[in-house]
Amino acid sequence: MNSSLSFKCIPYINNSKRIVIRGIYCLTRRFKSNSLPPDDDNNNNNTNSTSKKHEAIDKLNELLKTMKKGDETEIPNIELAKPRQLSKKAAQNKQKINELEQKKNLGVKLAHAATSVAESIGGDVKKTESELLNLLRIYNSECEPNNLSEKKLTSSVQLDDLLSGMKIDRSQPKVNNSGYKDMNRAERVRELIGKSTDIKQKVISYNKIIDNYVPTQLFSSKPLGIFTDIKPDKDYPSLPTWDRLYNKSLKMAATHPPKNIYEQMIIWTEQGKLWKFPIDNELGMDDEKTVFFTEHVFLEPLIDEWCPTKGPIRHFMELVCTGLSKNPFLSVKEKKDHINWFRQYFYEKNQLLTELGTCEIKSLPTDVKEYYKPTIPNE
């Protein structure tokens, strides 16, 4: 069967990716046909404890050899690549945590592989163990009745493989008369995990750097002692534009796309696109802030000094003042200029006024602007 298979696959072997896939396939096939399901092992164990021991060790060695050769490309070796490749995550973890561990004996290595799988499931050891146990129980009760116990595990985290390996190794010292066959698989595992305290300790020393937490005193070190002679009033150059630009880029580095309309409005306000809160109708009228409202409203004093006390001109100018006092669009200065324009106008008409005998405008304001000079109509 295998030969026919490989024949089929030859056309594709050029493609390296396909080789890997095929490798995985072959691996899974061979894994199954060569190795006995764990339960069979246990049956053997039951009959003879020493043979069980040997078998277990052999199996472990097999497994670990495959792990070592994992990277080679030959097809028989690709089979070995699988545990490694698929448990990449765990292996990576392990390598990072402790490279020295690599040279330790094989049993420890496997145990570590198991622990790093355990590590990938849960934070603290107890929790992890209970979870593993739980999972195994599910597998056990679900799979065995359906004869699925040697079901292929394609997932990277080959819990079953690893744990059954661990089980063989660690169950050696235990003399079990009752026989595994009748025992619930979950019970077995539970017992084993409960007994193996040495593994637990290893997990702790290996897993938790945080347990070896030695506080580093950030501030209580001995200072350099270079700065001894600092006078606060000493003069050194300051660069205002540079500092301003630096602060600007700091602000921009902490400004991110707005998260809601209000943040958007904050940005718009800062850019001057929105009216500033609190909203009133005086935005941008900064010049008017310094002017009290009476100056806008009470303009009569401005005409008192030159205007006749009664008569049509007085009447007219009072109307002008009323109109101006209600005008929100002119500044105080513009209003004053406006009144001065009339003052000037009537001053130009002085001759006519005296002829009519009504009154006389005595003086001109000193600072009248050029363009407020009225053009005297040519009659």
Binding site: K89, K152, M252
Partner: protein
Amino acid sequence: MLNNCRPKLLKKSGETVQLLRLASTNFEKPSNNGTSITIPKRINRSSTDILKAISSTIQRDPTASHYKYHDDPYLIPVSNFQKRAYALSQESGRKSAQWIVNQNPELFNHKVAFPPIEKFYPKTVYDENCQLDENVLKKTIEESMVSDSITVYNLLSQKGIEISSETQQALLELVCYYNSVDDIEEDWIEERWYTQSNKEREELRNTWKSKGFANFLFSTIKSPSAEHYSIIIQGMAKYNQFDEAYNLYKEACEKEFVLSINAYNSAIKTAIYVKEGADHKWLHIQEILKQMNNLGVPMNLLTLNSILIVLTTMSIKQETKKYALKTIAEAKQFNIEPCLASYYYLLQIFCSDKKMKSTILIDILNQLEGKSLVIKDLADTKFFVTAMENCHYHLQSFEIALRVHSILMTKNNYNLIGDSYKESVYYRNFFSILCKNESIELLMKYYNDLVPYVYIPEPSITELIVKSINTAAATELYSKIWSDILMFDQADREPIIIELTGGMAQNLFPSFEQPIKEQLGKLAGTIFDSIEERKEAGKIKSPWSGSVLGNLINVCLFGDNIDKASEIIKKLHTNQNKIIGVPDNQTIVLFFNYCIEKNYFNELLKCLEYSLEIGYVELDDLISKTITKMSLTPIQKNHLSKLVGKEFNVEIENNAESIIS
């Protein structure tokens, strides 16, 4: 007395009650403790304070996309690519609008608002015809317009207009700060959000424009002052022109100038390239610090950070750690608190060694917890992403990661996340730790909260999440994760598919209730269909693999989805040359058993045809089982014998009969 009256009064109209309230507050106050009312002082609020207050009441809604995508529900992004494309195209629209305004300023003379909004004015263009004086230059410097300032300066010097030394210094500061190039405008927040990290990567090499305007301007100054030296040194050091910066520093020292603090900081930074070896670098630092002390220039936060930057480039770890702590202690003497950037450098110094692990992050977190952090150094934004990376690779602890995360989430600290790239690296590490260390429930809690609107997992993280689901046998999550994979456009990633299908096939427990089984079966069918669709569309280049299809068949059969299962078998049969590998033995056995049990003869035939071509080992048993267990019509038997071959069929039949008898 008032209290006695209250019940009566309350019965009366609302007005009376109001009066009573007013009265009671007025009466009761002096009687309580005789204190006089103090009117609190007026708090000056800025124009954005009220907006900030309202904004702070809005919680993040994990079921809503980011605000910038709200405008059009059709354009709510679901993958990282879309997020980037949509955000940038929105801003690009604004940019082109502004371009049109700048191209045709005469068309936009109408005033849309009073007071007029200067932001909406077309850009001023400066040329020979303009009435220019120094004030124009001052204004362009004020607005940080680099190229405009340079143009105006050139025009002014052409016309022979003198510029005051202050303005000249300001111009030099501007062009040195921006390396004679215009910066990204303030308005383009999205562009900065997405391109910041590219710029930072560029920052590692010497980008100083040696023929730029800054150098030219500096050379025109006949007798440069201490300020001018400070500016040019700072500018060169900012853009990694360390050699020249150091030369100028030495020149300034010879002239016995007192430089600005930042110029000394820049001089310290030049040690990265100017000096080699830890000892020389450290000597260099000490020399400059002593110089500062002699001249009476104090150190500041940036001095601390510059020293730490140099320390990160040293190779002798034990010494540098000592130096770093000493420097921090020195800064502490002058009440200089380290900022996030200092801690970022500390992490680099302490945690670069993979063998000697350091837990300094915990001490740093102790310092930071509960604080409202403000940006003080441009490198501050690198802290959180590095801290999370440290939790992942160095400490491998989810508890610490959670502490980092909670610091990030306090107050406005999220502003210090940096940019989109740093944010996604941050979450990538966060989810990796979660997947590797924590239960599936906790993982899903964060997953539901953050995915997809804050973070969309990269394919490698999706794979990790699928692995976690597989390990935890959380079958109920498969449909969710599959729809997410589709949404994130990651269905074309082979490792994810292999992981997912493998996990599904592995976690089939007969004790599931029928509806769940059917759901799984349907899901497997959907997975097959959508991958098939993508393969036909050419999105997925790699061919099907037999094991993935086998897994899908397993799940389909488990969920009574025989139609899909036989469709897959057909696919396997017709595309033998394209599919890599074959399904597992177990799958074929399962398929046979299922068909026999449910009496699906046609499907069984399909499978048989396929298995014969592939050459499965246990086929004899299966065929005999078919013959014995299934009640076949003569036509069906005929079919079977045609397929299997007459002689073989007879043999098997005989065997079967002998078993029966």
